[in-house]
């Protein structure tokens, strides 16, 4: 177990380095420079490039960047907020994005699970149809439509919630954006939960549990949901990262000072360090959450519990399980 985590962390470090290197090369290939103020003369640009080390070869820049990164230094911003350390720039924005995204994930996952379970338990009734309709709506309607609709009704008409984000009321002003963001997650989780629950409810171990006399909530929670959860987690993990890293459109609508808008501005103005720092943080979060999910599998499904050696289910095997159902995979 310990060696498994160690291995995973080591692989993660190298993945992150590779991502940073690719980003460095890509940004080098992009036209333009961070110093695009029209008042600057060519000489001044050369001086600036020298000052920030941008005249060096890519690999030298990369090496220097990594050396700084190890000490927790992401560098400074070139033009969005001149010479401000990036850690300081992100410090205020990232928690806001994570808070809104986290609320959206929690809301979406919980509601999605409940809807999916209700649909599966009332298979082929009006409740099932209603849940299916909600999930089709959630998957097909983009989040900004929900955002605008919420903003108009709850914000403008009823005035229950602030229309724009305010740092004084971080929770209240996150409610509408998180609802808007959670719709897609909720819909996909609901659809998925329904299918998984249907399969589990038709299984023989459910019949055995019933013939033991178990019924009601313990039957559903102890036997059905736990088995249905395994593939659901696989779908949920990428959704979590998507939401945590902020959504540009929803951030704009509610004017949330999050990282989504920062990233777009940085790309537009060639603020290399900001782009790299944010991408690095996204990748790290993604890898981190995937690691947590991998360990969670072991907690929920004893069949893929970490043994220390090989012989456990990899990411692709799990997706195969998600896509083709568990019967085929179980034989592997």
């Amino acid at each position: 177990m310990k060696s498994y985590i160690l291995k995973r962390v080591l692989i993660s470090v190298f993945t992150l380095l590779a991502i940073t290197l690719v980003l460095f090369c890509l940004l080098q290939l992009m036209p333009g420079s961070p110093f695009n103020d029209e008042k600057l003369t060519d000489d001044q640009r050369i001086v600036l490039n020298e000052k920030y080390g941008l005249d060096q070869p890519v690999l030298v820049q990369f090496g220097r960047y990594v050396a700084n990164l190890v000490q927790g230094d992401f560098g400074v911003s070139y033009n969005i907020s001149k010479n401000t350390p990036i850690s300081q720039l992100i410090q205020t924005r990232l928690p806001i994005s994570i808070q809104v995204g986290g609320m959206a994930v929690a809301l979406g996952a919980v509601l999605g699970l409940i809807l999916g379970v209700i649909a599966a338990l009332n298979h082929n009734t009006w409740l099932d149809s209603l849940c299916t309709a909600i999930s089709v709506l959630g998957v097909s309607v983009p989040s900004y439509v929900f955002a605008l609709a919420l903003s108009y009704t709850l914000g403008f008409r009823l005035k229950w919630l602030p229309m724009l984000y305010s740092t004084n009321t971080p929770f209240l002003s996150s409610v509408m954006p998180s609802i808007a963001l959670s719709m897609f997650t909720m819909a996909s989780i609901a659809r998925f939960t329904r299918n998984e629950m249907m399969e589990v409810l038709g299984s023989e171990y459910m019949l055995l549990a019933e013939s033991k006399g178990i019924n009601g909530a313990p039957l559903i929670l102890r036997h059905a949901l736990r088995n249905a959860l395994i593939p659901i987690i696989t779908v949920l993990a990428p959704l979590i990262v998507d939401l945590m890293t902020g959504s540009l459109v929803v951030e704009k609508i509610f004017s949330i000072p999050g990282v989504g808008s920062l990233l777009v501005t940085a790309i537009q103005s060639n603020d290399y360090n900001v782009v790299i720092a944010l991408s690095f943080i996204y990748s790290a979060m993604y890898i981190g959450i995937m690691l947590v999910v991998d360990l969670l599998y072991g907690v929920i499904d004893p069949r893929i519990r970490v043994t220390g050696e090989g012989g456990r289910m990899g990411f692709f095997a799990r997706w195969r399980l998600v896509l083709f159902g568990r019967k085929k995979v179980a034989k592997v």
């Binding site: 023989e204 171990y205 055995l208 019933e210 013939s211 033991k212 006399g213 102890r222 929920i300 004893p302």
Partner: protein
Amino acid sequence: MENTAKETVLSIRDLSITFKTGAGPVNAIRGVNIDLPRGTTLAVVGESGSGKSVTFKAAMGILASNSVVNSGSIVYNYRHNDGTPATVDILKMKTRDIRRHINGKRIAMIFQDPMTSLDPTMPIGKQIMEGMVWHYKTPKQQAWDKAVRLLTEVGIEEPEKRMRQYPHQLSGGMRQRVVIAIALACDPDVLICDEPTTALDVTIQAKILELIKRIQAERGISVIYITHDLGVVAKVADFVNVMYAGRIVEAGTIDEIFYDPRHPYTWGLLSAMPDLDTEDDRLYTIPGSPPNLLHPVPGDAFAPRNAYALNIDERLDPPLFRISETHYAASWLLDERAPKVEMPPELKARIERMKKEGI
């Protein structure tokens, strides 16, 4: 059939069950009568789709949601803890009450495939203890001790270690032993075994059958075997009910069915049993296939496959003719007006041989 010397534990009367399917209603069970005398082993034999599993799923209240019970009763006689006798009709009970008072506690079931009938995410021990804790609020430690005893009883070595393991860590035979331990956890007095050995290999089959037999002898419980394997029936049963297309076509003691079968379908089943001493090289099979119960079956459902069918079979379903106190068969051949028809000579020779060998 009725009022034999022993008390009847489970008495199924005139049971009729229909499944609503996309193609229309399927009359899976068409008037079944079965009696289970206390402390005996009853085998229900029939082809796939003859309705043998459905009959007993009805007794467990675990029928599929698209099924409708049209008529009939499943009367269960039991004793309260203080010894006073009680009688209930399971079909009239609410599902919640069946779960609370019948399932696991009084009637337990063993399923066909031990590979799929255990919850893959729950340790073995917890699955055995679950029923006890659920029904009797047994304290954890007490339930644990009892589960360990049960695992020992069903022949699992190192029970303490197995308690903490998960189903995928056990072999098929061991899993079926665990399923049996789960069924015994709340000391039921009826055990329904739905093809308990079909999914297991032959050497394990014999061991599981012996295990169930031993448990029955030790605990004095009544056992129902649902099977298509006459070899299993011969090893374990006291009484045999032969089922065809949702009806009981012949019922009798094991000797009556094996040595003096009267229904042509039973003749077919017995002839289709593999046997080393038969002179014919080819294995006999009953021609044709069971009728599609989606459509109403006029007359005797077996008539189209029956070489001995009479004209009346096309029109009228035969009633159960009484042959002895315990032996009944639904065949017009038993009517006094019917022509005298003997069982196939090959089968007769085989039965003579079996009698001599005293199997």
